[in-house]
């Protein structure tokens, strides 16, 4: 962890001569005739930086100064080091205290973790979680297998949210005008406010919340509004689902909630929808989607996914057919499709998009028509209401409604157009109609649409130049939030909010299922929840959040054994019978939308706004795990970029890292360019959530603030952006070409790329697979076990191994965060990442195949292979990495002296070295976060994936206490557990009936770099595609 450490950026690292020459790259790819897989543009251009990373383990270690140290001095240092190293073994252990309970709680067995079900509200919507707690301190977040939106998986955001709980930058006191105050002083102020407002019936009183799905909180707000009938409740979520709601209103005349049954769908068409990774229900969708294309043998079938999208996404990379279309063309495509399917196409003149082959659309139409009731057409959350409405009518025309597409009542307590709602609030403030504003969560001064100019309403500019600033028109501003952020700074009161792991609450999942949010720990900093704040506002300041939630449901569920029902709901993490019943909604007779915001533009380059894949709308800015998590596909860390297609970058003459100025409707922004293969042409994508000015020590001042260009009428895409070159460059830290495995065997003479390609990724279509099921198998000569100087070792008993099904991996990063959380992996910071020192034990290698403009994308999670003939073990001079009788490649931190020979000799580049003291040993609030069963590493030792040996040992001990063998499924590694698609499977390969053995027995099974005869325990299953044979090219 690097809290408190400043990040020095390496200015001028980039060498201008090294800039990518896209013309040359294209030529090289042409030569390879589309068969070559590649990982980055730098690889294709063979830049020096790339070569350094490929051929040197640690390219940025400063050159050793030769000739300055004499032989004598060297000997002296050696002798001294040896002496000191020996002495460290003689440390006397410090005296420790044992502090038992006075009264022991019933459930706690010291040394054994407990698991509690709870839920994380993300953009208001619940994901069911199971949280591991050691002696009362939560340490690890996992998915709740009983929850319909999780099924045991958890995404990167949910898992990283535990770091936010312990974040030392969270505010710890109530402040008033920036000065320390108390909760009771605040209650006095609330009493005054109530006395005043009861007379006025709440006139001038405004509440601003984020999306609320919590039935009990909504009930409190409604009661509050009854007391103050003139008060108003506004909602705003910067990366909200306004267009989704509006689309349903256009199509059906009322707000409805839509969810999808991918377990019933054989043909899926995604209109710029990243449904596998983002949005409510994504974890469930990913599981159902992967299950429908799981391969058991060559008779297995697969669903088919068509994707049209502007920005390369995880879902796009799983597509069997993908076309990059600009935002305008996506709407045109949807209309064309609706027309050809005989659905209501909105009565707008149709232009078929140019970016898609002419024969493709009729083929897709035929494919969909052949799968009536078993297909899904869905639009992304950021698509215009028109596209959503079109998707609804297409599904209706295909008879999918009620089968694969389910409609229910809205899950939001008060569905509304939030952008408009915030606009009304801004307008009221402008005319002086708002006296008191209470903001619950959120950060509107940072993320409100730029045209509302909310900041100047809070903090008005002087009317005359140099004059005094007039007072804000809002007399009293109260902010309850997790961080003291850009908004809190300009509020009169700031109340620290309790984290969801610290407070009671409830929330609905994507299908309406209610989960009780159960706290794992008392508030660390005396934070208050929204429930408690509303209790105070409604004149019941003593009421606890627990009582509020408990009593609300008691009134709702007038059942006899309510306490049993309540306890069961807490235990299971879901409240039985609360999922909304499917509802049949006929489409509105004849709707007519003149097109969404995207088609109103005048042409030119279109700009697309997207929530960031790791920090979302900025809510996770101060979370080190998420900042350092390489973003899917780009592998960028600690920054956001302006993404362009290679074609557009070539036309504009800009390259990666070059700073450009984006101008849109009188607003401007400077951003570094990123050239993204597969991006739509003449389109630029910027991610929200960066450029924070008051996020905390980690999140402040990194990236650029894309909200500065975003306006209320065009929240997700706008046309006519001007790109102006500035000539400046900005250093970016990305891991794309770090820890790369060389694809070519250098010894072999270069004849053609394919001839000696190592085939780290193996792909075939399902047709090819059926004809040749062994296409991916390693050749005989590469798998000879006896090619070793050492005698073969017989593994009787357990033999641990893992199978990674690349056919299921969606590259969502859940495993990376799971591993980081389980194994106490530190955060190193941008500067260290850029020199290849990120510490993640598992990485998602991303490969491209095909041309620059629309390549296929493949993911390959790479962790320690636990080779049976491990190259790292032989070279360790101190026996710090050794082999276990169960086949684990072990790392013994206490023996490691940091020679790094092992890492140098690892063909998979999975070993990580603690160049500095990366683990935070001093910040008190981070101590309870750590997994007590894993050593916190110090400076100078090597580390790597252990197959979660702490979990293996725990399961082995448990099985032996119960006089049995470890059963298949008893041990789940952290990565496996979090995986939404179950792409990673761990188990005993000596048991022929274990899941992992069955996967490894499949013909798709292959090893990475098998020709080195490392005999890896981690093997991969080849990826299959299911393209429509009627579509060529």
């Amino acid at each position: 962890m690097i809290f408190g450490k400043t990040l020095k950026l390496m200015a001028g690292k980039d060498n201008p001569q090294e800039r990518l020459d896209l013309v040359t790259i294209r030529a090289r790819l042409e030569e390879a005739s589309g068969r070559r897989t590649w990982q980055s543009l730098d690889e294709l251009a063979e830049t020096q930086e790339f070569k350094n990373f490929l051929h040197h383990e640690f390219p940025h270690v400063p050159e050793k100064s030769s000739g300055q140290v004499s032989r004598r001095d060297a000997l002296k240092f050696m002798a001294a080091s040896a002496a000191f190293a020996g002495l460290t073994a003689c440390t006397k252990l410090p005296t420790e205290k044992i502090v038992p309970y006075v009264i022991a709680p019933e459930e706690i067995v010291p040394g054994k973790p407990l698991f509690y079900a709870t839920a994380m509200p993300f953009a208001g919507i619940a994901t069911g979680l199971l949280v591991e707690s050691h002696m009362g301190r939560p340490t690890k977040i996992e998915g709740n297998p009983l929850h319909p939106a999780s099924l045991g998986a958890a995404d990167a955001f949910a898992q990283a949210s535990i770091l936010t709980l312990y974040d030392p930058d969270r505010p710890q006191v109530v402040t008033r005008q920036g000065r320390i105050s108390t909760w009771s002083a605040f209650l006095d102020a609330i009493n005054e406010l109530r006395a005043d407002q009861l007379v006025k019936k709440g006139e001038g009183l405004r509440i601003l919340t984020e999306t609320v799905t919590s039935p009990s909180l909504a009930d409190q707000i409604q009661n509050f509004l009854k007391q103050f009938p003139q008060a108003k409740w506004h909602q705003y979520e910067p990366a909200g689902r306004d267009t989704v709601r509006e689309g349903s209103r256009v199509a059906f005349g009322e707000y409805v909630n839509t969810y999808y049954r991918f377990d019933r769908a054989d043909v899926i068409l995604a209109l710029d929808s990243d449904f596998l990774c983002y949005g409510p229900g994504a974890l469930r969708y990913a599981r159902d989607f992967a299950d429908k294309r799981r391969i058991v043998d060559n008779k297995s079938t697969m669903n088919r996914l068509y994707v049209v999208e502007s920005t390369p996404s995880n879902t796009g990379s799983m597509a069997d057919h993908r076309w990059a279309l600009g935002p305008r063309e996506i709407e045109g495509f949807a209309r064309t499709l609706a027309q050809q399917l005989g659905a209501n196409s909105g009565g707008v003149s149709i232009t078929a998009p140019a970016g898609i082959p002419t024969d493709a659309i009729p083929t897709i139409v035929r494919d969909l028509q052949n799968h009536k009731g078993t297909s899904i057409v869905l639009a992304g959350d950021q698509q215009s209401p028109a596209v959503h409405a079109l998707a609804h009518t297409i599904n209706h025309a295909l008879g999918n409604n009620g089968k694969t597409v389910i409609y229910t009542d809205p899950i939001e307590a008060n569905p509304a157009d939030q952008t408009q709602s915030l606009g009304e609030l801004a307008a009221d403030i402008r005319v002086g109609g708002v006296e008191t504003l209470i903001i619950i969560g959120g950060n509107p001064l940072y993320n409100a649409p730029a045209n509302y100019e909310l900041r100047s309403l809070f903090f008005p500019l002087p009317t005359t130049p140099g004059g005094a600033r007039p007072a804000s028109k809002v007399k009293l501003k109260i902010h309850l939030s997790l961080y003291n952020n850009e908004t809190s700074e300009l509020c009169d009161w700031h109340i620290p909010q309790a984290h969801y792991l610290e407070s009671w609450g409830d929330a609905r999942a994507y299908d309406g299922t209610v989960s009780i949010i159960q706290p794992l720990i008392a508030p660390l900093y005396d934070g208050k929840s929204a429930h408690e704040l509303f209790a105070a506002l409604s004149g019941e300041p003593g009421r606890t959040a627990h009582n509020i939630v408990h009593d609300y449901w008691k009134n709702q569920k007038s059942i006899k054994d309510y306490e049993i029902f309540w306890e069961t709901s807490l235990h299971d993490g879901v409240m039985a019978g609360t999922a909304f019943a499917p509802k049949s909604v006929p489409p509105a007779a004849n709707y007519n939308v003149a097109g969404g915001d995207s088609s109103t533009g005048s042409g030119g380059i279109a700009i697309i706004f997207r929530p960031d894949p790791t920090v979302w709308d900025g809510a996770f800015s101060n979370n080190g795990w998420l900042q350092e998590l390489p973003k899917p596909i780009t592998k960028l860390t600690w920054d956001n970029v302006a993404m362009l297609s290679p074609g557009t970058a070539q036309r504009l003459g800009v390259t990666k890292g070059e700073v450009v100025e984006l101008r849109l409707a009188g607003r401007a922004l400077r951003a570094p360019v990123w050239v993204a293969p597969g991006h739509a042409d003449e389109t630029i994508t910027v991610h929200l959530g960066y450029g924070r000015t008051r996020a905390g020590r980690l999140g402040t001042g990194i990236g650029f603030n894309a909200y500065a260009l975003r306006t209320s009428d065009r929240p997700w895409s706008a046309s006519g952006v001007d790109i102006i070159k500035t000539g400046e460059r900005y250093p970016l830290a990305y891991t794309q070409y770090q820890h790369m495995i060389s694809q070519d065997q250098k010894e072999v003479e270069e004849e053609s790329v394919a001839a000696f390609n190592r085939q780290l990724v193996r792909v075939a279509t399902i047709e090819e697979f059926r004809k040749d099921p062994d296409f991916a198998r390693d050749s005989e000569e590469n798998t000879r076990a006896d090619d070793s100087l050492y005698p073969p070792y017989k593994y009787d008993g357990y033999a641990w191994g893992m199978a990674v099904d690349t056919n299921s991996c969606i590259g969502c990063n859940a495993c990376v965060v799971a591993c980081q959380s389980e194994n106490n992996i530190p955060v190193v910071g941008k500067e260290q990442v850029s020199v290849g020192r990120a510490m993640h034990w598992i990485r998602i290698d991303t490969y491209f195949r095909g041309g620059l403009d629309d390549p296929e994308t493949y993911y390959e999670p790479v962790l320690c292979m636990h080779c049976e003939n491990a190259p790292c073990e032989g070279v360790c001079p101190v026996g710090a990495t050794v082999h276990s009788p169960e086949g684990l490649n072990e790392m013994v931190y206490n023996r490691c002296v940091g020679t790094r020979y092992c890492s140098n000799n690892c063909p998979y580049k999975v070993r990580r070295f603690n160049f500095e003291l990366y683990s935070d040993w001093t910040t008190p609030s981070l101590v309870p976060l750590r997994n007590p069963n894993v050593t916190v590493r110090s400076r100078g030792v090597m580390e790597k994936c252990t197959y979660c040996v702490q979990r293996i040992n725990a399961a082995k001990i448990k099985s032996e206490l119960e006089d049995r063998d470890v059963r298949d499924g008893d041990i789940q590694t952290a990565c496996q557990q979090s995986c939404p698609t179950q792409a990673l499977v761990f188990g005993n390969i000596n048991d022929p009936n274990s899941r992992v053995s069955k996967l490894k027995a499949q013909s798709r099974n292959y090893s990475l770099v098998a020709e080195l005869n490392t005999r890896p325990r981690t093997t991969y299953l080849a990826r299959l595609r299911n393209p429509n044979p009627e579509i060529k090219g």
Partner: protein
């Protein structure tokens, strides 16, 4: 120029040159002795405690089972140190006014824990598990020594890695029948080797290679 060193230093320098080997050995021996000394190992050093709790009295004289206080020893890695309530289950009836027990009563009154000094400590990178040792026939006194004779608790063994490995390499020399695990007065029988070999089989104790595998204790 006057001599800097007196003639007698010649003797000293000769001594140190010819005696270098002895000096190194003596230094090594000295360090070894310090490392093995009770100051370092804390073996046989009774630790002061807030309440002078006597295992001798409670275990041998009163015959209270180990698990009455150390409740999680069969279930968890940590044997468990009793909460104040466990002490008070008896001491609310007997010795209710003993000044020695005032810290216990104070703990209950003030709801503040008694802070015991840890006697048997392992470094943080060692992951020891009580439950599996109990299950496999390692008795309490094998590691904790003659606990039934300790008026105040002391560490009976160094708990150094080589000491652990002594048993992990040859468990047959130390294991005992499960029925005798909590017997503080247990003495190994004369046929320990034969009994031990039998128990290793019956209790399915793993082979030496597995028991001395690094990740058995370190991770």
């Amino acid at each position: 120029m006057a001599q800097i060193f007196h003639r007698s230093t010649n003797t000293l320098s000769r001594l140190s040159i010819y005696g270098a080997a002895f000096i190194v050995v003596a230094l090594g021996g000295g360090i070894y002795e310090i490392n093995e000394s009770p100051y370092f190992t804390e073996v046989n050093v009774a630790q002061p405690q807030p309440v002078p709790f006597s295992h001798k009295h409670h275990v041998s004289e009163l015959g209270i089972d180990c698990r009455y206080c150390h409740t999680s020893v069969e279930k968890s890695s940590f044997a468990g140190v009793p909460p104040t309530y466990t002490c008070m289950s008896c001491h609310s009836q007997i010795w209710v006014n003993s000044p020695m027990l005032e810290p216990v009563r104070a703990s209950l009154r003030t709801n503040r824990s008694i802070e015991w000094t840890r006697v048997n400590a392992l470094p943080d990178f060692v992951y020891f598990d009580h439950s599996i040792h109990i299950k496999k026939g390692v008795g309490c006194t094998t590691c904790h020594g003659p606990i039934g004779e300790m008026p105040i608790t002391w560490r009976a063994n160094t708990l150094y890695m080589r000491w652990c490995l002594g048993c992990h390499r040859q468990p047959e020399l130390y294991v005992r029948p499960r029925s005798q695990i909590f017997n503080a007065a247990y003495q190994p029988p004369n046929n320990q080797l034969a009994l031990g070999q039998e128990l290793v089989k019956v209790y399915k104790i793993k082979n030496q290679k597995q028991l001395t595998d690094c990740v058995t204790c370190h991770r």
